[in-house]
Subunit: 341 residues, 4 copies
Amino acid sequence: MLQERNMLRIGLIGAGRIGSVHAKHLASVRQATIVAVFDPLADRAQRIADEHGARIARDWRDIVEADDIDAVVIASSTETHPVVLRHAAQTQKAVYCEKPLASSLSEAHSLHRDLSGQNSRVMLGFNRRFDRNHASVAADVAAGAIGRVQTVQMTSRGPNAIPPASYLKLSGNLFYDKMVHFFDLARWLTGEEAIEVSALGSVIADPVFAEFGDVDTALVTLRMESGALCLIDNARRAVYGYDDRIEVFGTGGLLESSRITEGNVMRIFDDKVLTEGLPKDPMLRMAPSYAASIAAFVEFALGERSAVPGIEDGFRSLVLAEAATRSLAERRNVTVTEILG
Amino acid sequence: MLQERNMLRIGLIGAGRIGSVHAKHLASVRQATIVAVFDPLADRAQRIADEHGARIARDWRDIVEADDIDAVVIASSTETHPVVLRHAAQTQKAVYCEKPLASSLSEAHSLHRDLSGQNSRVMLGFNRRFDRNHASVAADVAAGAIGRVQTVQMTSRGPNAIPPASYLKLSGNLFYDKMVHFFDLARWLTGEEAIEVSALGSVIADPVFAEFGDVDTALVTLRMESGALCLIDNARRAVYGYDDRIEVFGTGGLLESSRITEGNVMRIFDDKVLTEGLPKDPMLRMAPSYAASIAAFVEFALGERSAVPGIEDGFRSLVLAEAATRSLAERRNVTVTEILG
Amino acid sequence: MLQERNMLRIGLIGAGRIGSVHAKHLASVRQATIVAVFDPLADRAQRIADEHGARIARDWRDIVEADDIDAVVIASSTETHPVVLRHAAQTQKAVYCEKPLASSLSEAHSLHRDLSGQNSRVMLGFNRRFDRNHASVAADVAAGAIGRVQTVQMTSRGPNAIPPASYLKLSGNLFYDKMVHFFDLARWLTGEEAIEVSALGSVIADPVFAEFGDVDTALVTLRMESGALCLIDNARRAVYGYDDRIEVFGTGGLLESSRITEGNVMRIFDDKVLTEGLPKDPMLRMAPSYAASIAAFVEFALGERSAVPGIEDGFRSLVLAEAATRSLAERRNVTVTEILG
Amino acid sequence: MLQERNMLRIGLIGAGRIGSVHAKHLASVRQATIVAVFDPLADRAQRIADEHGARIARDWRDIVEADDIDAVVIASSTETHPVVLRHAAQTQKAVYCEKPLASSLSEAHSLHRDLSGQNSRVMLGFNRRFDRNHASVAADVAAGAIGRVQTVQMTSRGPNAIPPASYLKLSGNLFYDKMVHFFDLARWLTGEEAIEVSALGSVIADPVFAEFGDVDTALVTLRMESGALCLIDNARRAVYGYDDRIEVFGTGGLLESSRITEGNVMRIFDDKVLTEGLPKDPMLRMAPSYAASIAAFVEFALGERSAVPGIEDGFRSLVLAEAATRSLAERRNVTVTEILG
C-alpha cells in the first residue's frame, strides 16, 4: 500500500490551529508527505494544501477512502472524531486522532468496545507523553529508579490568553478538554489504573468560564491501584505564561520534569536576581512534543512501533474526566468502577 | 513583674527533643533567660538546667505558679497541653505552647471557648510561620502582589528516619501531628478560613504506620472561602531528606518558597550536573524558624507584639485535621461547618 | 539582480561540516535558496546539491561569477578566504564569509584595507553574536542597564572530541581558530576596542596540541579603551561537554548568559540532586545562533539590514589573536598599537 | 599549661571589626573563653571585655606574656603583626594571626625565615579555606575527582560599601588586602605553587581608589607548576552585593562553589522570574567560614590539628600579591622566582 521509497502518504482532516501544527511538523518528517487536506473552511485547507503541494479534498470521506492515502490525521473538532474513526477503521489505514477521543463518555465507550484491541490502527494525540523531559521521568519510574511511587504532582497552567467562547462551547469542560492530558499522564507515569477520583474547582481567573458551567482552576486527586496518589493542578489561565511541571516522589527518591523558561539570561541588580519568564505561547513549550508525537505516528504507520497511546488510553482518560466532573458536582470521591458501570 | 533590665524569666515544661530546641534558641535571645525546667525524666531536665544555670522544678505546677517566672514554654507531650494551659491562663503569665494545641478536637474546642479572645496570653508553636522564606511569600500575598489566590501547593516530606513507635502512639495521626502545620499555613497564606476538605491517604513507605491506623502519604485539598484551592502533600518519610516547598499561584503571578538543599557546590561530570542533596536532619532546615518563633514569643511576653499565632489558630488547624480524618474514612468532602457542629 | 518574488539565489563554496550547517539552515529561510555548490571533494558537494536541488559548480569562480547567483556563502577552508573574497568583491554580490577572515594577519590587514568601508558587501560568520542569550546581554549593556562595564568573563570550553590532526594543521592556533569568536564578542559586548592583551596558555588536556605548537587551555585578559577588563577562558576540550558562559559586571549590576544544559529533568536521590549535563555536540548549543546568523545574512543581501559583523570585525579579532599569540610567546602585555604597526 | 577541663584561655589583640567577629564566634566554641582584650581604643576593648567577662589589658605585651593565657588572637592592624608575632613566638603560645601576615613583603619574608617550620605555632586567618563549599571543592580536587586541573576561576566582588579612607590608607592595595585570600586559595585548591603572574587593573567603580594609587577592578592570571591556569577576578565594590564564586575545571570534570543569594523565594510575574539578591553584608556570606576558622584554631591550640594555613601560606600569598603589583606596573608577566630573589 505504501508508495515507492517508503514514503507515507498522509491525508489531513482539519486545518485549524492543531491541524496546522501537525502539518508543519510533518513537513520535517523525511518519510511522510501530506497529499490531501480537508477542512469545512476552504481557506484554511487551501493554505496548507499550497504549502505542502497537497490536493484539496471535498469531504473527509474522500480522504478516508482514497487509494493513494496510507494514513489519516484527524485534527477536526472533537464531535467529529467518532464517525471519522469508525469509517477509517474499516480501511485499515493508520489513524492519528487528536485528543480527546470523543466529546462524550458514551461515544468513547462504544469506540473503545468496537475499535480497540490488538489490531487497532489508531494512535491518540497525547503529545505530552512525547515531551522529552516527561518521557525521561516516566522511563526512570518504569525502570524502578525511585522505587514504589508515593505521590505524583502534575501542575499545568496557562496560557495567559483565554480561549474564545466558540471554542469553550464545544471543547468540553476543564476535565474533558485540558485535564484529559494529565489523566493520561497519571496512568502512564505510574503504569497503573486510577481507582478513585476527588475534584475541587473554582472560577477565579475569569467569570467567562462560569457561563459555560465550567471552572478555571481545579485540583484533582487520584488514588491508583497500588495506593500511589496523584495530584493534578490545572488552571485555564495563568498570567505569567505557560507553566508545566511534573514531580514523582517514590520510596527511592524524587524525579521532576521542571518548568521551562524562555531564555537563559540572568540579571542581578541591587536586591534581586532576575531570570527569564515562562513562555507566553504554549507552543514554545510544546512544539517539540507535538513534533515527536506525529513522528511516532509515522513510525507506527510504517510498522516501526506500536499504536501507543491508543484508543484504550483515550477512553480511560475520559473515564477519569467523567469521574472528576461527577466528584466536583457531588462533593465526594467517585470510583472508576461506578463510571465503568 | 519583669526582672530588672527587662530580662524575661522563663520556665520550661518539657525537656525532650523539642524542649531542648527551644532552650538552645532561648540562649541566644538577649532579653530572655531560662530560670526553671521541669521534665518527668529527671536526667533530661538536669542537662538543660546545667547548661542554662536554671533550677529543677519538681512539678510543672511549680513553674506555672512561681513568682519569679514571667513566661512559660510548654514543650511537654501533647496530651498534657490542656491542663497546663488552663492552669497557666489563671496566672496571666505569657505562654508558648507547642503544636498541636491538644490531642483531641473536643479538648481543643473547650480551650478555644475558654481561653481565646482579646486577652489571650497564649502563643502557639507554629514555627513554620516564622520561616523567613514562607513569611516573605505570605507578606507578598497579603500585599496583593499576585492578585487573588487561585491555588496553593504545600509540599512537605521527610525526614528519612521514621519516628519511634512510642512517639507514633501518642502523637496523633498524620493530619493531627504533621499536617496541622500546613492547615495553619493554608489559613495564614490565604488570609481565609477553609470551608471544605478532601483527603486521600495511603501506607506506602512503611507498614508500621498501618499498625497505628495511620497513613504515611497523603494528599489533602481544601477549598477556602474565596474559592481559592489548597493542596497539602505530606509524607511521613522521604528517603531523599527533608523537603519543604510552598507555591502560591494567583491571578497576578506566582510565589514560591523553594526547597532548600544542604550546600552550594555543583559538580559537572560526563553526562550530569550534581548539586547537593536535601538535609537529612529536618532541624538543618527548620532551626531558623524555631529560633524566630521563640524570639517572637519573647517579644510578645515583653509587650512588643501580639500573641499570633494563638489559640484560635491552634483550634482551627485541628478542626481541619479532624475534617481530613473524616474525609479519608468516609471518602467524601467534609465541610468545616459539620465539624464545628 | 534578484529573482522574481524576492528569492535570494545563493551559491555555496565549501560543503564540509560548516558548509552543511549553513545549507541546512538556509533550507528553512523562506526567502533564500541554494542554487549552486562547489567543493573540491565532489561527494560532499553532490550530497548538498541533491538535497537542495542545486547544481554542482566546477570551480568556486563559477559561483562568484554566475549571473544567476545573488549571494555567496564562503565556507571553504580559511586559507582560501582572501582570494575568494577579493574576487567576489568585484561582483557586488553579497558575501557571507566564515570566520576567521584569513589565516594570517597580513592577509587580513590587506583585505581590511581594500574591502572594508561603507560599501562593503561582506558579512563575517561570527555566529555567537546571534546567540539569543548573548545578544540579550549585549543589548542590555548597550542600553546602559548595568552602567559602566568593569569586567567581562567569557568562558567557552569543549567539546569532548578533539579535532583531527588534519584540521589542527590548517585551522590556526587556539587564538586564531576558536578564541577569535571571543575577541569579537569582547569588542561587541563592551562597544569598545581592546588596547592591551595578556595571555597564558598550557597543554594539559591532550599532548596532540603541543605537536602543532599550540595550547589546549588558555586564559587571555584584555584591557579595553575605557579601562573595562575582559577575560577569555577557552579550552579546546572539555570532557563534560560544551560549556559556554558570558558574564558582564558593571557599576550598576551583573548580566549573565548562563551555561545551557541538555534537558530539564531533576533527580533527587539519597544525598544529591542531579540535573542534566551539558551538550556533547556543540551544535545542540550553537545551532540556533548559526541559523540566526545566516538568516541575518539573507536579510542583509535583501537590503533589510547592514553588513554587521563585517570585515572590520573580522580584522580586529585577528589583531587580538595575534596580540595574544605574541603575549604568550613573550610573556608580556602586548598592545594593539604595536600589532597595528 | 591549659586550664582545668581543657578550656583554652584566649587573649584578643584588636577589638575592631574583625576582632569583634572573632570574639563573637569564640563565644560559641565550647572549649575556649576570652580572658583578656587589648585595643588602643579603650571603648572597643571595654565592649568586648564586658560581653565576655574578660579583663582589659593595658598593652598587647600583657596579653602575649600573661601566664593565664594559652592562646593569642591577633586582630590588630596589619602593620603591628610582625612585632606581635615575633614576641608571641617566644612564649610558645598558640597564635591566630589575621591576614595578611605583614604589610610589606620584606617583613613577611623575615617572619617566614625566622618563624615558619615544623614547630610553628602560628595559624593564619585565611577564613575562606573554611568555607564549607570551597572546602568541599578543594577536597574533591585533592581526591582527583576532576583529574588534572586546567583552569581555576575565582570571582569575588563587593560589597557595595566602599571602605573608609582611613582603612584604605593602611590596608595595602587590592592585591595585598583582598586578593591575598585568593592567592592563598589558588595554592590551596591546586595543591601547587604559582610560578608566573600577570595582572590587569583599572579604577572604574570609584575614583577614591586612584587617590591611594590603587585599582578597584582587577583580573590576575597565574600559571601554576603543572601548567594549570588560575584567574582571580576581584572588585572592591559591587553594587549588587557580595559575590563569591569558585570554579575548577579539570580533565575529568568541573566543580563550582556557586554564588550564594540571600533567601530562597522565587517570584514569577508577567515576563520574568525573580529570585533573591546577593547579601549586602559580606558577613552574611562569610560568617560561617570565620566561625569555622577560629574553631579550627582552638582545635590546633588544643593539639587536635596542625597549624594550617600557617606562616608559609601567609608569606607565599604576599609573594603573589607583590608579583601582581609589579606585573600591573610593568605590564609583563612576573615570575615568582624573581620576587623570591
